[in-house]
């Protein structure tokens, strides 16, 4: 659908049309005004000229009459003429009249007696004794001495003059007449510059033209005009003849009572307008030129405005698209150039700000390294080009170990310094298109372009080497280590997101397994996925009572009685079936979910303990807690709550913590354990012998029990060294007042040795695996009943 807009929207078109129309209108109006003024002027002028011409005409007529009279008088005074008249010599008279008449170019010559009778007549129209038809002329002549008048004779106009023939008294009147014809009219026109027409109305009441200077066709029109408008004969004004407009003046030349003779004097408006015609033409030419000039000028001006505007518009497009580099070069009017300059300044400003924004967006303020977002971008770019050129790309994720410790101990300023040093060292390792970025916190990433996984491992080793030497911050000399995860394209992922994630996972695993550098293993993914889903399932499990506690009894070696049980987590997954703690506990520990799990376990164990007590079964229930639990400030209150809630007597609830768990933060462990003991729980050190504990710590731990790690128990029967360790451990424990429990007892031999060595309690498959509460009770009862079943 075409929308026709009545008003053009383009600035250029608007300018052109506006100025074009304006100029045309102005010129048009000017032309019209000039034309009108000229015409009015011409009319006025014509009227004036008409008036003047009319006076000239009248003057001419009078002069002609005077001349004619003079000539006639001269003739009439001629002696011979007088003699002829006086002697009534008619033949002579006739020829004299003719002769004298022709002397003065008269068209008629007559002689009239004083009584008014024709004596002679050159026209020979009148018979003898005819009367002179214009008695008024004679009367005037008698009164004035002579007379002139315009009369119609035989359908023609004559200017007659009557002069007396004095001999010496008037003996006759000499009448001379000059006909008024076209020639006369033309002579009059020459002098007065007026068109003149003489008209008369005959006895048939029809007007006719006696003489005229206007063309024949116009004469006819004139006659018609007079015939149709009776008042036209009296009024003069504008008349249109033959398409030409005439200013008209009408004069009656006839004598009252005679046939009307009109002298119609006219001045053609065309003649009056003639001198204006060139002016008119010049004005039109000027108008056309100025309109053309205005159109051209407005086109140029419009262009000088719209072109820079368009250029600026294009520039804004480029700016929008992010192209800041080219300044706009615009020439033209000052305002435009200034605007362009401002645009350029703005463009520079925008470019600068964008750079700043990018810098902030993509840069890490502290270290000056690219940030995660930028690293992602670069990685994506590297992957894209790797796709084209099949070069490998490797990503290293470098995470500083125990950085939070530095922050807490030395302060964040020191921590920042460390980060800066690390950044510098990493940067120093770069080559080619490699990039070091700070992903955040204490984590860095390295992008190695054109580097395969093996090379990546070597690069990671270099990174680790770079961090070998201590970092000096102020007076402090710090050993900063890092865990490094490696992921390579295309082996470990084909997009940046995946690569980063996998490198991160590898790093995380390296950190937790304290391996330093690890390359991503695809199997991790699966496990991770499993673990991720596991986490949510775990939460669900807790709510859905899929988690259970199973209890493994600790048998007293001396009495064979069961007074203690260890609570172990079991997860009965609705679809996957039983899931061993090894599958989810470490994961829970990693995610910190262990705290929730432990809290749950404590509560349930306490409840179970209380339940057994109600049943008359007094068992000390031990719950495993992790290092995280130990460091959890809420632990003490959780435990205290459980004890209080279920009204458990002291030491009825026990907590087992691994030796390595304690050693994570020994100082704190000591505090917490002391507090826990104060709240009435028993405490055991689990997996003793594997936790790199220093004995001085052991001294201070407020525990009741040591559990020897199963690694020493498994081969106890055969391994002398194990035996020595176990022995010394038992002795150590006993000397410190601690009871000793041996885990993982699977055969009788081991049991015998332990008994020999003086261990207090034992725990293991030899007796039973962990049982449900119900099953446990059954087992305990059976043991009582048939103690021999269980070897002793």
């Amino acid at each position: 659908m075409i929308h026709w807009r009545p008003y053009p929207q383009s600035l250029r078109a608007q300018i052109i049309i506006f100025f074009g129309v304006l100029f045309i209108a102005v010129q048009g109006v000017a032309l019209l005004l000039v034309d009108a003024a000229n015409t009015r002027n011409a009319r006025d002028q014509s009227k004036q000229e008409l008036a003047v011409g009319e006076r000239v005409f009248r003057d001419l007529l009078n002069r002609n009459n005077a001349e004619l009279t003079q000539a006639a008088e001269l003739l009439a005074r001629d002696f011979a003429f007088r003699e002829a008249v006086a002697t009534h010599d008619l033949p002579t008279l006739a020829s004299v009249l003719a002769n004298h008449g022709s002397r003065i170019h008269a068209d008629l010559a007559q002689l009239v007696s004083p009584e008014g009778q024709f004596i002679a007549d050159s026209m020979r129209v009148h018979g003898t004794d005819a009367q002179f038809p214009f008695s008024w002329l004679m009367q005037e002549a008698e009164e004035r001495g002579n007379a002139t008048g315009l009369v119609i004779l035989e359908g023609r106009a004559y200017q007659l003059v009557l002069v007396p023939v004095l001999a010496p008294t008037p003996i006759a009147w000499a009448v001379f007449g000059v006909s008024i014809d076209d020639r006369t009219a033309r002579e009059l026109q020459k002098l007065s510059e007026l068109d003149v027409s003489f008209l008369t109305r005959g006895t048939d009441s029809r007007w006719s033209v006696l003489a005229s200077t206007i063309p024949l066709s116009q004469q006819q029109e004139l006659v018609e005009e007079f015939s149709s408008h009776s008042d036209a004969t009296t009024q003069g004004s504008a008349m249109i003849l033959g398409g030409t407009e005439y200013e008209t003046l009408i004069r009656h030349l006839d004598h009252a009572g005679e046939a009307p003779i009109l002298a119609v004097q006219q001045r053609s408006l065309d003649d009056a307008l003639k001198p204006f015609k060139p002016l008119h033409r010049i004005l039109i030419v000027l108008a056309l030129i100025s309109v053309a000039a205005s159109v051209v000028g407005s086109i140029l001006i419009g262009r000088s405005i719209t072109r820079p505007l368009l250029a600026l518009g294009q520039m804004t497009e480029r700016i929008e698209e992010g192209g800041y580099s080219q300044p706009v070069a615009i020439s033209g009017a000052d305002e435009i150039v200034q605007l362009a300059r401002r645009f350029n300044v703005m463009r520079d400003g925008i470019a600068t700000r964008e750079r700043e924004i990018l810098r902030l967006a993509y840069g890490d303020t502290l270290t000056g390294l690219p940030n995660r977002a930028r690293f992602r971008e670069q990685l994506e770019t590297a992957i894209r080009s790797a796709q084209d050129s099949t070069t490998p790309v490797t990503v290293l994720v470098v995470n500083l170990d125990r950085f939070s410790y530095i922050n807490e101990t030395l302060g964040h300023a020191a921590g920042d310094e460390v980060l800066k040093h690390v950044a510098a060292r990493l940067t120093a390792l770069l080559s080619g298109g490699d990039i070091v970025a700070r992903l955040g916190g204490d984590e860095f990433a390295v992008l190695l372009v054109g580097v395969g996984t093996d090379q990546g491992v070597r690069a990671a080793a270099k990174v680790a080497d770079a961090l070998e030497s201590p970092i000096v911050v102020g007076p402090q000399s710090l050993d900063v280590r890092a865990s490094i995860g490696i992921a390579g394209y295309p082996a470990h992922g084909i997009d940046a997101e995946t690569l980063l994630r996998h490198a991160d996972a590898a790093m995380s695993l390296a950190k937790h397994s304290k391996q330093g550098v690890l390359t991503y293993d695809p199997r991790l993914r699966q496990r991770r996925e499993e673990q991720l889903s596991l986490l949510s399932e775990l939460r669900h499990a807790m709510e859905a009572n899929e988690l259970r506690l199973a209890y493994q009894p600790k048998v007293d070696l001396a009495t064979g009685a069961v007074t203690e049980v260890e609570a172990l987590m079991r997860w009965w997954h609705p679809t996957k079936g039983p899931i061993s703690p090894g599958m989810f506990i470490p994961f829970a520990e990693q995610t910190g979910f262990i705290k929730t799990v432990t809290a749950w376990a404590i509560a349930h164990a306490a409840a179970q303990c209380a339940h057994w007590r109600l049943q008359g079964l007094s068992l000390c229930v031990s719950i495993n807690i992790s290092a995280q639990d130990l460091l959890n400030p809420a632990l003490t209150s959780i435990v205290a709550d459980a004890v209080t809630r279920y009204g458990l007597p002291p030491r009825q609830l026990c907590l087992e913590i691994t030796e390595s768990g304690v050693m994570q933060d020994p100082a704190r462990a000591i505090e917490v354990l002391a507090a826990l003991q104060a709240s009435g729980v028993g405490l055991s050190i689990d997996d003793f012998g594997t936790g790199y504990s220093s004995l001085s710590y052991v001294k201070h731990l407020a525990v009741n029990e040591l559990k020897i790690d199963r690694s020493f128990i498994t081969n106890l029967a055969t391994d002398e060294k194990d035996r020595a360790i176990v022995l010394s451990t038992i002795e150590l424990a006993h000397h410190l007042g601690l009871k000793v429990v041996a885990e993982g007892v699977e055969n009788q031999e081991t049991l015998d040795v332990l008994k020999e060595l003086g261990c207090d309690s034992v725990q293991g498959f030899l007796f039973t695996r962990a049982l449900d509460p119900g099953a446990l009770v059954v087992w305990i009862n059976e043991r009582r009943v048939r103690p021999a079943l269980t070897a002793f």
């Binding site: 005074r77 004095l166 010496p168 008294t169």
Partner: protein, 218 residues
Amino acid sequence: MNRHFFVTACAVSFLISNSAWAQSGLIISHVIGDNGVPVADAVVVAVPDGGPPPLPKSPRTEIMDQVDKEFVPKVEPILVGSLVQFPNKDNVRHQVYSFSLPKTFELPLYAGTPSAPMLFDKPGVVVLGCNIHDWMLGYIYVSESPYFAKTDVGGVAEIHLPVGAYKVRVWHPQLQGTGESTQQSVQVSTSTQLSWNLKLKREIRVRRAPAAGNDSLY
């Protein structure tokens, strides 16, 4: 002019008184024009019923003078058969002419007095003009009877004549109509008073020209 008139009147009356007739009559004519204005230069002529007396043997010679470019007198009645002299008292020449039927003549340009006086042997009015000076106008009234007189400024003319029966008429140059009034038959006695009322035309005369310049009408 009065002097001439007087002389002429005396001469005529002397002649008449010396004639055979013993008794002298007198006609006193009063000529009145329009509005009761007395008319001068009117000629009263009395013709005896029996016919005019015979002409004298020796004709008289009258004078028609030209003085100051005018005919003097303007109207001169004479007896038929008289001679008229046309002396020119002016320092310019005149060319006297007349187209009147009683006497048509033309005196070529002359100064002083032409050689011979002219014989006016036909009665009637002879209008005199000068070819050069268009305004000059003179009348010689040739009377067939010796009994005539011209009115004076008062419009009065006296004619001495023997008593008897006469036909008396008046003539004036501007007299409308035929120029002559109707006759009156009069028995002349020793003193007969006659009066005439004349209707006079306007005199059409050319204006006297200034020394240099064109003639023009009124």
